[in-house]
């Protein structure tokens, strides 16, 4: 069958230091279709789109891109926009204080000799807003609009640039149900006008509603391409494609010895720190016993980090309600200091900006959360501090010439071990580990898994937040599944599987 192909990406391989983010990926988009791109977090969807839009310029990847019948070599995002390829990121790129009209033509102003032709701007704004079905005045500041309407402004902005191929990265992730529907209808309308789109989405019901074809990515490779018109594509098929990887990662053996309940979080509710009407965590109940490893599964934006940080000294959110209990006693976690003193430690997912003082030494970072442990009357005992730092360096196999090395110079895995050292030295009862193995190599991962098992064996409670499902399945005794701020349920070790977790999330 002769097809009109607008875009073909062939054998795309993109390597970052130490990681192969994309491995020989193929993608074929027909003119005037909606092409869905599915895959787990970290499967390579966003990387692929960054290659396409020129964020990673030609030459920084292998493979070729054929667009409108000719090979492309973009040096930057402006080149791709000139060709009509427009990407709308998950994080909207609007300037909140500028008006709709100003945002629409930002960097693309209608002007002669640098003087803006405002009547023309407003006229064209009106036309564009009508096209996307947004009933707002052109001079309204964007910050006055809700997320759904802002999304439409983004799309109108793409139309202003004469779009031929529109790429939407999780466009409905932050939207309410009816806003999502509106947006999908708009995509269908564009299809009728001959504009092609690539839709990245986790919501499989949306995908099956609008997509003409689907490409599934897994671990940086394209695993399957399906045509929704010539075959019946069930959500189960897509899920299997998304998660069906070989269990090549190994997890150290552990015989769980689960004791009494250690930590309990009851009826936890949290609202967004800036927009007071947005509830981020809904009625969460969680418990972890001594010697138990509990996982929280969910997609990006499910509220897992927000949950952990709100419990850890109210470091996130406001109007927090609910209670935290340790060994049956309610504890005060209203500041980080109190949470730490009451035996909770939180190892952040963002070690560089939240976990470490990069310009300081391993030694300083190790003792930072428990300086009283190496000092008397506020004076640091240098011998003791040094001894402690060495002790943890050896115990965690931090590979470095010495503890006076700045953490800036360490590899990701070693940096993670420094963050762990810091929290181990704070002597907690319960550790919340947020993406403990993100961005570190396989060897270091294994060491961290062994450490987690050791902690459990010592009678501590461990909560792991992870986007890597095999990691949760391999490590946890119990897994909570979280979506949109609420727990959907929990799965015991023997009943949990990737398919079960995924279908709980996408069918919610």
């Amino acid at each position: 069958m002769q097809q009109d192909i607008i875009l073909e990406m062939r054998g795309i391989t993109k390597t970052f230091p130490g990681v192969k983010a994309l491995n020989n990926v193929n993608l074929k988009v027909r003119r005037g279709e909606i092409h869905a791109l599915c895959g787990e977090n970290g499967a390579g969807k966003s990387t692929l789109m960054k290659v396409l839009s020129g964020v990673y310029p030609h030459g920084s990847y292998e493979g070729e891109i054929v667009y409108e019948g000719k090979p492309l070599s973009f040096g930057g995002i402006r080149d791709s926009e000139r060709e009509g390829i427009i990407i709308i990121h998950q994080e909207l790129a609007l300037v909140p204080l500028l008006s709709i009209a100003e945002n629409l033509f930002l960097g693309n102003e209608i002007a002669s000799n640098g003087v803006i032709d405002w009547p023309e701007v407003y006229q064209r704004t009106e036309v564009l807003l009508k096209k996307v079905g947004l009933d707002e005045i052109a001079t309204t500041p964007v910050e006055k609009l809700g997320v759904g309407k802002q999304q439409l402004v983004e799309i109108a902005k793409a139309l202003a640039k004469d779009v031929k191929l529109l790429i939407l990265d999780e466009p409905t992730a932050a939207l309410q149900e009816n806003d999502s529907q509106k947006l999908l209808d708009l995509l269908l309308e564009f299809r009728a006008q001959g504009i092609s789109s690539i839709l990245i989405s986790h919501k499989l019901n949306e995908v099956s509603r609008v997509a003409d074809s689907i490409t599934v990515l897994r671990d940086g490779a394209s695993v399957s391409s399906m045509d929704c018109h010539s075959e019946v594509v069930s959500e189960e098929t897509i899920i299997r494609g998304m998660v069906g990887r070989d269990m090549q990662n190994r997890y150290p053996e552990r015989t769980p010895q689960i004791g009494d309940t250690l930590l309990e979080i009851r009826d936890w509710n949290v609202w967004h720190p800036e927009s007071a009407s947005r509830q981020m965590i809904r009625n969460v109940n969680l418990s972890v016993a001594a010697g138990e490893v509990v996982g929280i599964a969910g997609l990006m934006g499910a509220g897992r980090t927000e949950l952990a940080m709100s419990v850890f000294g109210r470091s996130y959110g406001r109007n927090i309600s609910g209670s935290v209990h340790l060994r049956g006693q309610e504890i005060d976690v209203s500041t980080v200091r109190r949470a730490v003193d009451n035996g909770i430690a939180y190892v952040t997912e963002d070690r560089k900006s939240l976990g470490l003082v990069l310009d300081e030494s391993i030694l300083c970072n190790t003792t930072l959360a428990n300086l009283p442990g190496v000092s008397s009357h506020g004076v640091i005992d240098e011998h003791e501090e040094r001894r402690i730092a060495e002790e943890y360096r050896e115990a965690l196999h931090i590979r470095t010439p010495g503890v006076f090395q700045k953490v800036l110079n360490l590899s990701g895995g070693n940096q993670q071990k420094v963050v762990l050292s810091k929290w181990l030295f704070a002597k907690p009862d319960v550790l919340i580990l947020d993406e403990p193995t993100r961005g570190i190599d396989v060897g270091a991962k294994f060491e961290i898994y062994s450490l987690i098992n050791q902690l459990a064996a010592d009678g501590k409670g461990v909560i792991i937040i992870s986007s890597e499902m095999p990691e949760l399945l391999g490590m946890c005794d119990r897994i909570y599944v979280m979506n949109e701020g609420a727990f959907l349920g929990e799965l015991a070790r023997d009943e949990a599987s990737q398919e079960k977790i995924m279908s709980m999330i996408v069918k919610a």
Binding site: R337, D341, V357, L358, L368, V379, R386, G402
Partner: protein
């Protein structure tokens, strides 16, 4: 260099610690020694240009008296800048506290022993008033202290009614113009001054040797031993020499003793206490510090209270030195203080900087002021040169840092 390379590794040294080479060591510490060298070079330069006037005992004494208040404030400013903030109000606070002291003493007849603690407390309160908004309301320190700069300059004028008020009682003047008497009775040269100089040099040598021993035991010596001996030998000699020079005039000024004590105390605070460590952590990464259970607000608040107190002390010393409180007292001092801290290697983004660096930075500024004045260079060109030196020091930092990355 060969000598250092041929030494056997001391027992207990970890094998992966590379043998320090003289050149490599200098390269990695170019900023630390660079500062000291620059100070020495500048002093030598002016010593030659002024035909030896710079190092004459009377001028050296003046040099310390003139710069004491800048150095004292630089200690507080270092903490403020390390914590990631800035304080523009210190010059006005100097003026205001001096004015308040004058009113209390000259017009109300209060005694020195009452006025000094009251003024220091006033400085703390001024620092607290500004630090409160900065620490607990996250209002940028630049704005708050800019407002403070205007407010306290205005209050200085109001308190003094636009006039100069003085003179002070002789006991108050002693703070700035007094000298440590010679307990040995020789007076010239002042044996007490020499003895204290030798004592200080000995203490510094003792501490340096002790620290090096300890470092050796842990295998973390990064300074070649030849270099260690030369550096500390020179520092000790310099201290004894300066003490001797001062001894041949009137001995050690009281203010020099105050300064030396404060410098030691703040060096200890920044290097050895949990308080100091936490302030560096806040400046290095405030979010990580907060998530490590550090009360970032309280420490920021403390940094400003401390700055206010030191500014008040500087205000008293300055008023005592002039023996009068004037509405113009302290004008643009904040710039000299901030410049001293940045010349001393502190980072604008916080988390980096040393007390000794700030002191050397202040001395570099002081020696340049003094030397250029002796040479009769006009105030306009002095400013130009000082500005360029500040810029050069910071450019040097940035270039040096980007190279090492």
């Amino acid at each position: 260099m060969d000598q250092t390379k041929n030494q056997a590794a001391p027992a207990g040294e970890t094998p992966q610690a590379a043998r320090p080479s003289l050149l490599g060591h200098l390269k990695s510490h170019v900023r630390d020694y660079g500062m000291l060298m620059t100070l020495v070079v500048i002093m030598a330069l002016f010593e030659v240009l002024t035909d030896g006037t710079l190092m004459r005992p009377v001028n050296l004494t003046n040099l310390f008296l003139q710069n004491s208040y800048i150095i004292i404030m630089a200690l507080g400013m270092l903490l403020v800048i390390v914590s990631g903030h800035i304080d523009l109000s210190v010059g006005s606070v100097v003026g205001f506290v001096g004015a308040a002291a004058a009113v209390m003493m000259v017009q109300w007849g209060w005694s020195t022993s009452v006025v000094v603690p009251v003024c220091l407390l006033m400085g703390c309160l001024i620092g607290a008033a500004q630090g409160y908004w900065i620490a607990y309301w996250q209002i940028p320190s630049f704005i708050v202290t800019l407002a403070g700069m205007l407010v306290f300059r205005g209050l200085t004028l109001a308190v003094l009614d636009g006039q100069s008020v003085g003179p002070f009682s002789s006991s108050f003047q002693l703070m700035s113009n007094g000298f440590i008497p010679d307990i040995f009775g020789v007076k010239r040269p002042n044996i007490t001054a020499i003895a204290l100089g030798v004592l200080a040099a000995g203490a510094i040598l003792y501490l340096a040797i002790r620290a090096r021993r300890r470092a050796k035991r842990y295998g973390i010596v990064d300074e070649p031993s030849l270099f260690f001996v030369i550096k500390n030998g020179l520092i000790a000699c310099a201290i004894v020499y300066i003490a001797y020079l001062l001894a041949t005039y009137r001995g050690l000024p009281n203010v020099l003793i105050i300064m030396a004590l404060l410098i030691s105390a703040y060096t200890f605070l920044t290097n050895r206490t949990t308080l100091g460590r936490r302030i560096y952590a806040i400046g290095g990464n405030v979010k990580a510090a907060k998530l490590s259970g550090i009360n970032t607000e309280r420490l920021t608040f403390f940094a400003f209270v401390n700055m206010g107190m030191l500014a008040a002390l500087a205000g008293l010393i300055f008023a005592a030195r002039l023996n009068t409180a004037t509405p113009k007292a302290g004008v643009s001092f904040e710039l000299d203080v901030i410049a001293a801290v940045f010349i001393g290697g502190a980072s604008m983004s916080g988390g980096v900087g040393k007390i000794i660096g700030a002191v050397i930075g202040a001395l570099i500024m002081g020696v340049m002021n003094n030397g250029m004045s002796i040479l009769g260079i006009g105030i306009e060109w002095q400013q130009v040169i000082k500005g360029l030196v500040l810029l050069a020091a910071v450019i040097f930092d940035v270039v040096n840092k980007s190279k090492s990355r």
